[in-house]
Every structure is written in C-alpha cells, then in structure tokens.
Symmetry: C2
Subunit: 433 residues, 2 copies
Amino acid sequence: MASSVETRADADSDQGEDVTAHVTHLGQQARRAAAGLREATTGDKNTALHAMAAQLEQQREILRTANERDLEQAQQDGLSAALLDRLTLDDRRIDAMIAGLETVAALPDPVGEIDELSTRPNGLQIGRMRVPLGVIGIIYESRPNVTIDAAALCLKSGNAAILRGGSEAVHSNAAIAECIRLGLAEAGLPEACVQRVGTRDRQAVGALIRMDQYVDVIIPRGGRSLIERISADATVPVIKHLEGICHVYVDRHADLNQAWEVAFNAKCYRYGICGAMETLLVDESIAADFLPEMARRLMEAGVELRGCDRTRQLIAAEIAEESDWSTEYLAPILSIRVVEGLQAAIEHINHYGSHHTDAIVSQHLGHTRRFMAAVDSSSVMVNAATCFADGGEYGLGAEIGISTNRLHVRGPVGLQGLTTQKYIVIGDGHVRH
Amino acid sequence: MASSVETRADADSDQGEDVTAHVTHLGQQARRAAAGLREATTGDKNTALHAMAAQLEQQREILRTANERDLEQAQQDGLSAALLDRLTLDDRRIDAMIAGLETVAALPDPVGEIDELSTRPNGLQIGRMRVPLGVIGIIYESRPNVTIDAAALCLKSGNAAILRGGSEAVHSNAAIAECIRLGLAEAGLPEACVQRVGTRDRQAVGALIRMDQYVDVIIPRGGRSLIERISADATVPVIKHLEGICHVYVDRHADLNQAWEVAFNAKCYRYGICGAMETLLVDESIAADFLPEMARRLMEAGVELRGCDRTRQLIAAEIAEESDWSTEYLAPILSIRVVEGLQAAIEHINHYGSHHTDAIVSQHLGHTRRFMAAVDSSSVMVNAATCFADGGEYGLGAEIGISTNRLHVRGPVGLQGLTTQKYIVIGDGHVRH
C-alpha cells in the first residue's frame, strides 16, 4: 500500500499542461457530489468520519513513511526548523487528527435546522432552513493535519471540498487523502465529496479561485501574503483570516488584580497566536498604580516594552513609534499607551486595530456596555484575555479558521459558518392578490 | 428653496477631474458617521425617519418641480415610456415613500440583539451581538424612490449609506437627499449618515466599488448588465440580485385545482417580476389530466406556450428549444416540460434554474420534504405561487432587494441582511491555561 501512496503523489507533477482542465474537472465532480451531500443524512456523514478515523489508525505506518519522504525533501530544500515542525506528522499528531474526526462526528449537524418559522396573516408558513454552502475550496500551507480537519468540517456541514495543500506536504497529504477516500466509500458517499488538487502547479490555485461556476467559497489558511494574494485575484468569495492586532484596555474602574492577570495572559499565553495582545491601553487615572507592577511581570517573562511618552514617565520602556500601534508582533514585544479614558481607547482600537479581538478590563457596567457596542471587532471581550479567541474555547467544537470578514461570518468559523439559510414557504394552494 | 435644489444638482457635473478624491472623501466621512451610528439609539434613528417623512410631505411641490426637470430632459433624450414611468414622481409615489419611511420606523431594530448567549464550563459567557455592517454603497438606476428606501433601511440598521442614483434622476434625487439631510439634522445625527455621490461621472462608480477601506458592501439595484459589470469590477463584496428563472413543479400527488391556480398565479400575477414562473414542470403520470386545462387558462390570458415533445402531444404549443429552459422571459411566455417524476424535476431545476425561487405543488409529505431539501434555491415553496418571493410578503417589512448570493444573505434582504454578528465574551478576570 505504501507504494500506491507514492505513485499517487508522484503522479502529481505530471499534469502541468492541463492544469485548468484538471481543476475544472474537479469542480464539476464536486458540484455533482454537493448535490448528493445536500441530502445525505447525519448518520451517513458520521459513519464516514468514524471510518476515516479508523483508517488513520490502521495506516499510521504508511502515514509516517509518507511524511518522512516530505521531511527528507524539506531538509534538502533547507526549510526552517519552524516549517519542519509544522510539517511533521508524528504519533501525537495522528492521535490529534483521529480525535478531531471523532469530535466533529459528535457535533450536532446544522443542516436542515429551521429557524423563525412563523405563519403570515394569510396562512403561509415562512421560515429559514440551514443548508450547505455547496463547494468549498481550501488552500493551505505546510500543516498536513489541515487536510483532515478541513475535510471533516466540510463533510459534516454537507459541503463538497476541494483541497489544495502545500507542495512540501504532498506525500503526507496524499496518504491522508487515501484514508478520507476509503472512509467516504465505507459510508457509501461519493469519493468526490473530498478531492485533492492533483498537481503541484501554481496555476491550479489561480484556476480554483476564479471558478465561480463550481466553487462557492474559498478559505485560505496560511500567512498574510497567501491570503492577500488570493483575495486580490479571486472572483469566488473568500473567507479571510487576516492579522490580529488585539488590544486590552484597562479602564479606570478595573479590578487591578484582574487587569494584571488578564493582560499578562493575553500577551504571554502564546506569542504566536492571532489572539495575542499586541497593544495595552491604560486609562490615565490608574496608570501610575497599574503600570509598574504590570511592567515588572512582563519584563520578568522577557517581554520587550515599547511605550508612549506618558508610559515612559512611569516605567522603563523603549519609544513606541507610530508604526508600533499597527504592528502584529507575534513575538514577546508589547506596545503600551496611556489614554484619556474610554472614548480615547475605543477610537484607538477602531483606528489602529485589525477588528479581530479586543478586551476591556472594568467593573463599570456602563463602560463595558459601551465598549461592547462601540468596538468594531469580530470578538469583543470583557474581563477575559484575548487569547480565548478560538473556536474550541467558544464551544464550536472545531474551527476552520477565524474570519476577519464582516459579511457572512465573523470570528471563529465552525460548522454553522460553512452553511447558509434559504427561505422555505409552505402554503395550501396560496396565490397572490 | 427650489433654487437651492437646482443649484445642488447642477453642481454635480462640475467635478469631473477630481472624481476619485470626491468619492474617497465621501468614504472617509461615511466611515466616521458609521462609528457614531453604531451607538445611535433606536429612538434617534426613528426620529430621523419620521422627520424625513415630514420633510417629503412639506416639500411635495419642490419634489415634483425637480422631477419635472428630469422628465423633460429624459423626453428630450428619447427615453422609453417604461423608463419615463419609472422616473416619474407623482403624488401617489411620494405617498408611498412617506409610508415606506413610517414602515421602517415601526420595524424592530436588529442592532444589539444578542443570540445564543451561553456559559462555558469555565464560567465565560459567550454569545453573538447583531451589529451594523458599516458603510453600504447603493448603486441604482432610474427610480428615485430607491433614494429614500435605501436611506431608510441603511439608517435603521445602523449603517452609513453612500447612494449613487441614475444620472437621469439627478434633480429628483437631489431634492429627496435634501429631505434626508434635514431629517438627519432634526434627530441630531451626522449628515454623512446618508451621502449622495455628487457627480454624474461614471468613474465614481469604479472608485466606489474598489474602496475596500471605506465601503463594506455594495448593493446594485438595476438590470443584469449593471449588476454583472459591478460584480466583475468590485473588490468590495457585492450583494447581487441576478435573474429569477423560477419553476413550478406539479407532482403526481398534486391537488390539481391547487396546481392550476398556483401555476396560473405564478405566471400571470405579474410577468415582469423576478418571482414570475418561467418554466412549468409536470409529472408524466398526471400530465394528460393537468395540461389541457392549464393550457386553456394560460392561453385565455394571452400566454405563449413553448413545450417539450411530450407536452406538444397533449396541448398546442411551440417547440421549446434548449435555450428556453434557461431563459428569464419576464413576459407572457412559458416553457413547459413533462418530467419522469420528482428526481427529474429536482435535477432540471438545479441545472437550468437560477437558484432564486422554485415551488412544488404536492400533497405528498415525503415529496415536499425532499423537494425542500434538494432544491438549491434561495426560496423553496410548497403549494404556493413563486410570485410570493418578496420581502413584504415574507414579513420583513421592507426589502432592499433579493439576494441570489449564497454567502451572508439569500433571498429578500431586509434589515437583518444589512447587519452582521460579532462575538461577545464576558468573564470575571478569566485567563487561558
């Protein structure tokens, strides 16, 4: 079986010339599969998810062998240690993929839910039924586990998926795709429910993101440059996950013990996540009480501080330049600004932030109500650390990313974000007068 | 006052060179106004809507004078009778605009609604708050009443609006915009909540639809060519209203009396609306009972019939060409096809239709359930005429169009379609472990 995986992946590079035809074919297959998936029962979909998990369990050896080929090539190509780590598929990560499939199988199926069904004066019943989006294209970089996570969420929400992983993970992705294929077959679902773009040619991405006829939405998962390139060129709608320039604002009515803990956690839980705090805003009236102890804790953890003039009168910090207020460090660096109060904090966040996740620490009900209404971000938090911005923490069970779009879905994208609603209208021979 | 309206509209043509600067300025103003509107109370917004209605009432004379100038010009330019009719602002239409404002004022305000607020095991409360989209650009053609309808819906949903009407209605739109301006002032809301593009230069549209920084969504209202042009060029997301190729499928379990009435109404209620039936599908097993009487009624109403071979064995009809199945006639023409049953009807609708509004006439519960799940349209109806596809009929109170998008909003777009949801997370000093 190992050799079949190799052949599958090696064949990828042979298709150069006919990239558009290949991607169009995938699109047509996906559109047909999506029509069947709209009517698949939750039971069928869960059977496929459990069967995929069983396949991963059985094929650990094959998965690791395929992954080793990718890792060898990546080392030859001189990829960084961080990229090599992301690419690695060890037993712990295979366990996580299996657990992920079981989690998604256990989630309630949003498809078919009917909301707001009510009866009009003429007796017509009108409501909205939750339905799949159709065909979803996922474009991602090195992590091979995205192959299984994306397939699981798309399948459970009734969507056909076309996956395009990074070329550095091609053998790992091919081996995982084989487990998916076998799982679908076991549940009697068409193979084309989850397809993998079978060429490393970059033109395939260009074709996929402009194939409006067959693809309903594109979800890129990767760095800013990938997402910006795709957004600029796509004609298919894109669910984007741009940067997180997240703020914690310490209000004059904050409980200072809470503020120290929340701000420290928001910065230091993990520096590299999109929900990490990048700027700390402090009300001028409590700055002298709050900042010295805050600075002590952060510096002890090795965080570099960059402050405004008023900050630097209270604590030792580098000078924050104008550009610091709009920088996502993803590193042990924090910019700090003393502000005149709630209004100034709101204005700073809406102006310099990225509308991702922002928090206020305050015990003043009116201030927290205002902050929640006025801050224009996908998540607004009160007395909680911004690093909670995560589908798992929000109870979505699993997420395919965090949307910084305004339309359709904002914040962590779970199963519901991969569906839409259509109107249903039920009458008894009703005609319009 | 009449002269101030004239000056305002006449000034429009002078700005040719600086179109991008003008539109950028509008965008910046709108972004600022939107920040204020996010926090405006329902009371303030309703005060503005009532004040606009009062202004329209007071300024009937000025509105008619401005409209006459547009009509004179349009006659000189040789516009068709249909376009002249759309352009006309008589007392009845002014009444309708006033009534529209009062209707929107009476609708519940969706902003601030909190859904699905629940408590996680760690005590964090997580929910979703409904919030405005931000800045909405509306691009429309001849009907001047769109100026007031769009302004009212955007304002009530807390969005700043940038309106770009047809050049043929420039004086009428300027006069209406003056009523809007005075209404906003009376409620103490910034004028920039509703702005009108002050140039007839076509480049203004190009600038508006690519101004991602200041505009969050574009809603074009007009013919297919306008909408396609805008969709192709826009980088801002577009809520599209493309064609309605609507079907009625008469199932073998239909009540034939209902089927005759529903199908007749779907075709003949009004030929020119997007919810008008364009293709009638009939199950083969009841075609001989159903079609002759159906044809008699339709031909009596002057509807031209075009049928498949099997249809033409039962009734007198022209030959339906392949292209008929994908044509939106918007005219007294109907294509008719005899199909093998439910599955064939679903496949025909999903293949040839436009995913707008489609109906089944049937008393068979299983067939209606399957039809509702499998037909991939923004509205799916059971025993009701497709011409019900309308925000008013659905109880939305008012609509800004019917979306044929899949993402964000599908079907009639009311206040809720002009909003989005953000996550709110409320804790007590919560940190992540």
